[in-house]
């Protein structure tokens, strides 16, 4: 099955996939590295930031096009390709500048061979567990009724070029689906399908999990790095636990683990498994006890705004969920730090969510 799949995808398409899903986010993330202290410039953080920035840019650019032009998918493709190129180019230029100035782009990391034997074994176990999940994602299909809307919507967008004016269920023309149209994630999938020439359903069900599942674990890894910074040798144990909790987390159809491994390609899953963990990652980082310089804090606040825009892209209702989470965390951290400006800043970060919430309620 795996060999057949890779046989189906030509070299140019493979190249475009690598470009769109790996290199462009990494290149874009390099741009945010300028804000980070040298010790925090990891490949993981760069990739996560880049991925989120590109998604946020897509959401900001696409929603107005959806409202203004029923047949606007081609415009979306052209505009976003310019944005991706620009962001990636700026990121790479920025990293050249950093390299010349500081002699490094990413921080030095401990090589695998320099780690303790136990740690090495644990990392291998963790990678095997991840490998199993990716293998199962490619070779096994999971049925979910919502795909009849979301996946069919990506497909009709890519093939017909309409934006939320065709019923994914039947194919008949319809009025703008205002409620769903505020969350542009299915259109992003259509964009990747157009750029790579891969059928949107194959992309959703078989290829995107190979990127989105590792992305989730990368965020959990960064959270673990912050939580276990005094005993980083236990990080692989933590990651094994995270993996096992996901694999054995199918306690109901609603759990985030079920969404991660059975509905990976849906915006709701991205909300539960990328956006919300990313908020925890940013908060842990932002209020680390040894503190950051103001430049780095500024970068993290920007990233928090970015995550809020991405939340709106995943599911329109998620704007309430995200605002709620930030409100609770904002109040508690402000009380703890005895600094109410934190709550104010968090409220400002929620502005994109508020705007989308107002639009959502208005419809």
């Amino acid at each position: 099955m795996i060999m057949k799949l890779f046989g189906m995808i030509g070299t140019i398409r493979k190249g475009m996939l690598v470009l769109m899903l790996l290199l462009a986010p990494l290149g874009t993330g390099l741009f945010i590295n300028r804000f980070l202290a040298p010790d925090n410039r990891s490949v993981g953080v760069t990739y996560i930031s880049g991925f989120l920035i590109l998604l946020a840019a897509f959401q900001l650019m696409t929603v107005p096009v959806i409202f203004l032009d029923a047949w606007g998918f081609d415009i979306v493709v052209k505009l976003f390709t310019v944005i991706v190129t620009l962001f990636t180019g700026l990121g790479i230029m920025q990293s050249f500048h950093l390299w010349r100035k500081e002699g490094m782009v990413f921080r030095k990391r401990i090589l695998f061979k320099d780690r303790a034997r136990v740690e090495q074994v644990q990392w291998i176990v963790m990678l095997v567990l991840l490998g199993v999940q990716l293998f199962m994602a490619v070779t096994h299909a999971s049925f979910d009724g919502d795909d009849a809307y979301y996946v069919a919507n990506s497909l009709v967008t890519e093939e017909a070029g309409t934006l939320y004016r065709t019923s994914p269920y039947t194919g008949r023309s319809t009025f703008l689906d205002k409620r769903h149209s505020l969350a542009a994630f299915p259109i992003w999938i259509a964009y990747i399908a157009r750029m790579t020439g891969i059928h949107a359903t194959i992309l959703s069900h078989t290829i995107l999990p190979l990127v989105l599942i590792p992305l989730t674990y990368l965020i959990y890894y960064e959270i673990g790095k912050k939580l276990l910074k005094d005993k980083l040798e236990t990080l692989p144990t933590y990651m094994i636990f995270v993996n096992i909790l996901q694999i054995f987390g199918n306690v109901s159809i609603y759990s985030n683990s079920t969404f991660l491994l059975m509905r990976t390609w849906q915006g709701k899953s991205m909300l539960a498994n990328v956006v919300i963990p990313a908020i925890f990652m940013i908060l842990l980082w932002m209020f680390e006890e040894n503190g950051q310089n103001s430049k780095e804090k500024g970068g993290l606040w920007i990233l928090l705004v970015v995550v809020n825009i991405v939340a709106a892209m995943m599911s329109t209702a998620s704007v309430f969920l995200n605002s709620f989470l930030l409100a609770v965390m904002g109040i508690i951290i402000s009380m703890q730090e005895k600094n109410w400006k934190i709550l104010l800043k968090m409220a400002l970060c929620c502005i994109p969510c508020v705007v989308y919430a107002v639009l959502y309620m208005a419809f």
């Binding site: 069919a152 959990y220 987390g249 963990p277 209702a317 709620f324």
Partner: protein, 251 residues
């Protein structure tokens, strides 16, 4: 309150992982010394849980977005809390204790790949191969407009995930039992124990369906040949008919 408890029970399933989470949270209440993890994973998470069970909060949320209250539980960092606590506690003991810890999670949880909705993929689309075979009989030729077909219920979810060139008179919106669309007249006919062909062709023609797909084991009353409807293909379980009363338009 009853609704909230039902949502909570539906989310947590057998409840054992939730018990592990509560135990982990209690441990962190006592043992977590770092202020930011304490704020987020102890105080924040506790406040979210309390709010979740407050009826006024529930009704407020319902006003904003009905039917998705379970998602409040997504913002509880259960996975991180359990994993972090496990490492904090078991990290002090020999490797064997970690294996036991993982075993406890495996026993408390449910293996995702044993889910009845997961099956071996038949193709890269991850939709039933038979749907592809059926649709391939119907695909419009070069220069032809999109076509419309009426399908048995079990195929409806997948048809438009395979091709947007195939339209349907009704879709998944008529299958979900809790949605309030009522039934579609053509679906009523398709789901009859014995399908009356005259009725089926008449409605399919009225709804401009060029194709009719019927499960072979269905009992039919009448003969398609009498209505300009010709069988053009078959798969393991389905017959594909071309309804010549409706033309396929040229682009």
């Amino acid at each position: 309150m009853k609704e909230i408890l039902t949502i909570f029970r539906n989310y947590t399933g057998n409840g054992f992982l939730t018990i592990l989470y509560i135990l982990a949270l209690l441990y962190l209440w006592m043992a977590e010394k770092n202020k930011t993890p304490r704020a987020i994973f102890v105080y924040g998470a506790s406040v979210i849980q309390i709010l979740f069970f407050i009826p006024l909060f529930y009704y407020g949320y319902q006003l904003l977005d009905e039917g998705t209250y379970y998602r409040i539980l997504w913002v509880l960092p259960m996975t991180v809390t359990i994993a972090y606590t496990a490492v904090k506690i078991l990290g002090r003991y020999p490797m064997g204790s970690i294996v036991i810890g993982l075993g406890v999670i495996m026993i408390c949880g449910k293996y995702v790949y044993s889910n009845t909705y997961i099956s071996k993929a038949e193709n890269a689309y991850h939709i039933p191969q038979e749907v592809i075979e059926v649709c391939d009989f119907m695909m419009p030729e070069e220069g032809e407009e999109r076509v419309k077909g009426v399908f048995p219920d079990e195929l409806i979810h997948f048809v438009r995930q395979y091709s947007s060139d195939i339209l349907m008179p009704y879709g998944r919106d008529y299958l979900a039992p809790d949605w309030i669309y009522g039934d579609h007249p053509l679906r009523e006919v398709m789901n009859q124990e014995k399908i009356r062909i005259s009725e089926l062709v008449s409605l399919a023609t009225e709804m401009e369906c060029q194709y009719i797909i019927v499960e072979r084991k269905k009992e039919l009353i009448g003969n398609f040949d009498n209505y300009q409807v010709i069988r053009i293909g078959e798969t393991e379980n389905y017959d594909i008919y071309r309804n010549h009363r409706v033309d396929i338009e040229k682009k």
